[in-house]
Structures are given as structure tokens and as C-alpha cells.
Chain length 239, copies 2
DNA sequence: GTCTACACGTGAATC
DNA sequence: TGATTCACGTGTAGA
């Protein structure tokens, strides 16, 4: 452990290290011809072991240097992607990356909700809305990878929940699909005038969200179909 | 440097370190009462210096540990923000962050171009388009911080370039403004039927872009006006 | 047994 | 000067 430390300094060459060892050992031991011989052979063994250890240590430190280099290159790339490069500090850089990432995520989610074009990331929002006649309508917007059974599954789900689709905007682009559905229940279920209005509607919203989530996740699990017809765009409005 | 190394191991206590020094020094020096006394006082000085050095080293290593902790916390937060948490590796994590950041940036820029809502980041695009009558129209979309003189400056610029605004969509939100202008030149300048059509239009596009860029940058330099009326939204269509 | 990734303490530099 | 940041080589634990 002691001599391991001795070549830990940055640019001590192998020969310097060995000379240091031979000096100390020869100084402590007797200088007779036999002892010297023994010590010399011992030294050779030491040399070999040290050479091996040094080689191992060298490759180790080099590997570690490569790793550091990779990480720092990525950090530099991140720094170049940020708008404000005020702080050069590493931790602050990462903090700004986090902030920027959250901001971008916020923007995209806000814009994506009000857009009819499907995005790369899966998305599901279900909200209460009021139509022009003041009746309650639920607007459900879901975006996911397209598959042949998606629409039938959605219809089946809606039928099972006794819901009626007033209007559907279905847009597919690049193998992905975005559905914006305007849903209402049977008249005896929704549009009641008692003072417990909010709670039942929130219940409907969450149960619809849950059901649609299941349909979307079933879609994700279906990896066997290769999504044959891609990169073609269709835009369908069902009223 | 030698004894600095000696307490470099992780949990060697201060007393162990000092005992090691006293052993070696006493072994090398004479053991007379005077020499011992001198060595003892020296030792005390050494002890004090070592105690100081140890304290410094301790605070240093603790500070370094805090720094590492901060960085790793940020990395963990980044990992939680990513959609795919497949690789736990640090460098790969940063690589995925870069990828994700680029993807989000791409999405927002694409969506922002086709949206009438002003975004947080400045933006300027100028493109050729054809209107319903087949005439050439230039669509210019610029988004920047709002100021009172922005619109007059734009109008002045357009007038100076002998351009006509067919239609303008101006939307302000939260102190920022987005202008989408549909521009055409005088009829003798644009809409010619010779085979050099593309080049002059590209010239117009780039010169318009340059002029608008100047207007936007002048806007950025104007920090004196406090942008009094913020957080109110207006939507104006000029046809 | 080699390889890889991490945390650690330390020397040096910058402020 | 002390505080803070970085690169370095090393110990060590999983594949």
C-alpha cells in the first residue's frame, strides 16, 4: 500500500519509482554478495509485480480519464444547447438544464392540447366543457401510436360506459394518431340541475380517463403489428 | 507531502497519525534529555500544524462531497424528468438528456411556427407562399417582447421596402407579441412571369428577414420602457 | 480474471 | 486569505 502510493504522483516515470525502491531496500539490508543477489532477484520480482501493477493502474486511470471526458463532452453539448450560458459552473449548468427542460415540456404540453396534430409523445387529457347551448360536454384528447383496433376499442369503451360521442376529430400523421372526442352521457346521467353537479362530473372525467388510459396502454403493448402503412396523413371529421 | 499522504486513507484517526510521526522521528534522533525536549516541542508544533492541515483537509473533502452531492441530485432530477429511464449510466443519461432536449426544441419550433400564440423565445421566419389566386405572397412570422414602437417600426420598414401588407395577425400575451404578416410587393416588383422568378423572391425573403431582425433587436435593446400594461391579451386582425 | 462505473480525497487554480 | 470548482488517480463493487 505504501509503494502503491509512491507512484501515485502524476508524472513519476517507472524507472524513477524502481530506483527509489532499490535505494531504500539496499540501505536497510546487508550488502554481502549473497544478500545482494537475493535482494536483486527479489527486486526483479518486485519489478515485475510493480510493472504489472503500474500497467493495470495506468489502464485504469486512462479508462477513468476517458469516462470523465465523455461526461464533460456531454456537459459541453448541453451548455451549447442552453439559451443563457451565464453560469459556467457544472452544478448550475445542470440546474439550468432541468429548468429549461421543464419549461419546454410545459410549452409543448400547452400547445399540444390546443392543436389537432398528433405529437411524438403519448398524451391523454379529459376535461369538462360547455357547449354553445350551455349543456355539459366532456372533451377528451388522446394521442398515441396508431393501430387498427384503436378506434373500435374506443367505440366499445364508450358504448360500455353508456356515453355518446357528439363529435370526433381524428388525425393521423406518421403512424401516430390524435383523437379529440366531445362526449356526453345519457340525459338522465349528465346535465342534472341539482347542487351536486361538480362531483358526478369529476367522477365521469376520471373514469373516462382511466378507461382511455387502458385502451392506450393496450395499444402500447401491441408491438407485433408492424404498422404497415406509415407516413400517410388522413383527417377525418365525424359529426 | 509524505505525512500528508499518511492520513489520506479513509478513516485513519488523528492520534494514529501523530503516533506514527513520533515513532519515526524519535528513532532517528538522539535520545538525550535535551534533544528529546527539543523534539517534543517540535512535535507539538508539528501536531498543531498537522491539526490545522487535517482540519483544512477535512473541510475541503467535506466541501467536495457536498459539491458531488449537488451534482448527483441534479442528475437524479434529470433522470426523473426523462421518459425512458433504461440506462442508469451517468454519461448515457446525459446523452439522453441532450437527445430529449433537441427533440423538444424541434417540436416547439415546428408547432410555434403554425401557431398564433406568442412564445417565450424570440423567433423570426420568412417564407414564400402562394395565395388562393396563385399570386406570390411572403409570410413573415415574428415573435418578440412587446413595446410601443414595434408596430410603427414594422410599418416604417415595410414602407421603406415598398412592400404591401395584405393581412396581419397580431397577438399579444403576457407582454410578448406575435405578428404574422402576409406581404406582397408592388406589382411591378413581384409576380413577374419570367424564368428568373425564384432568385428575386429569395432576395426579397432574405432582405425582409434582415430588416425585421433589426427591428426585433432594436426591441431587445429598449430596456428603459417598463412595458407598463402587461398580462392583458389582445387579438387584432387587420385585413 | 478483465471491464466498467462510481465515490472518494487530494492538488491546483481561480476568485 | 479561505472558499469553491475542477481534474486526477485510486479503492471498490458489479457484470
Amino acid at each position: 500500500m505504501f509503494n502503491r502510493r509512491s507512484f501515485a504522483s502524476y508524472d513519476t516515470s517507472s524507472t524513477d519509482h524502481l530506483r527509489f525502491i532499490s535505494d531504500t531496500v539496499l540501505g536497510q539490508m546487508g550488502s554481502g554478495p549473497f544478500g545482494l543477489q537475493a535482494e536483486l532477484s527479489k527486486l526483479t520480482a518486485q519489478e515485475i509485480m510493480d510493472a504489472k501493477a503500474l500497467a493495470a493502474s495506468k489502464s485504469h486511470s486512462e479508462a477513468e480519464r476517458r469516462r470523465r471526458e465523455r461526461i464533460n463532452n456531454h456537459l459541453a453539448k448541453l451548455r451549447s444547447l442552453l439559451p443563457s450560458t451565464t453560469k459556467t459552473d457544472k452544478a448550475s449548468l445542470l440546474a439550468e438544464v432541468i429548468q429549461h427542460l421543464k419549461e419546454l415540456k410545459r410549452q409543448t404540453s400547452i400547445i399540444a392540447e390546443s392543436s389537432a396534430i398528433p405529437t411524438e409523445s403519448d398524451e391523454l387529457t379529459v376535461d369538462n366543457e360547455e357547449d354553445e347551448d350551455g349543456r355539459f360536454v366532456i372533451k377528451a384528447s388522446l394521442c398515441c401510436e396508431d393501430r387498427t383496433d384503436l378506434l373500435p376499442d374506443l367505440i366499445k369503451t364508450l358504448k360500455a360506459m353508456r356515453l355518446k360521442t357528439l363529435k370526433a376529430e381524428i388525425t393521423t400523421l406518421g403512424g401516430r394518431v390524435k383523437n379529440v372526442l366531445f362526449i356526453t352521457g345519457d340525459d338522465q346521467e349528465l346535465n342534472r340541475d341539482d347542487d351536486e353537479q361538480q362531483q358526478p362530473h369529476e367522477y365521469f372525467v376520471s373514469s373516462i380517463q382511466e378507461a382511455f388510459r387502458a385502451v392506450m396502454e393496450k395499444s402500447n403493448g401491441d408491438e407485433s403489428s408492424p404498422g404497415s402503412v406509415k407516413r400517410q396523413r388522413t383527417n377525418i371529421n365525424i359529426i
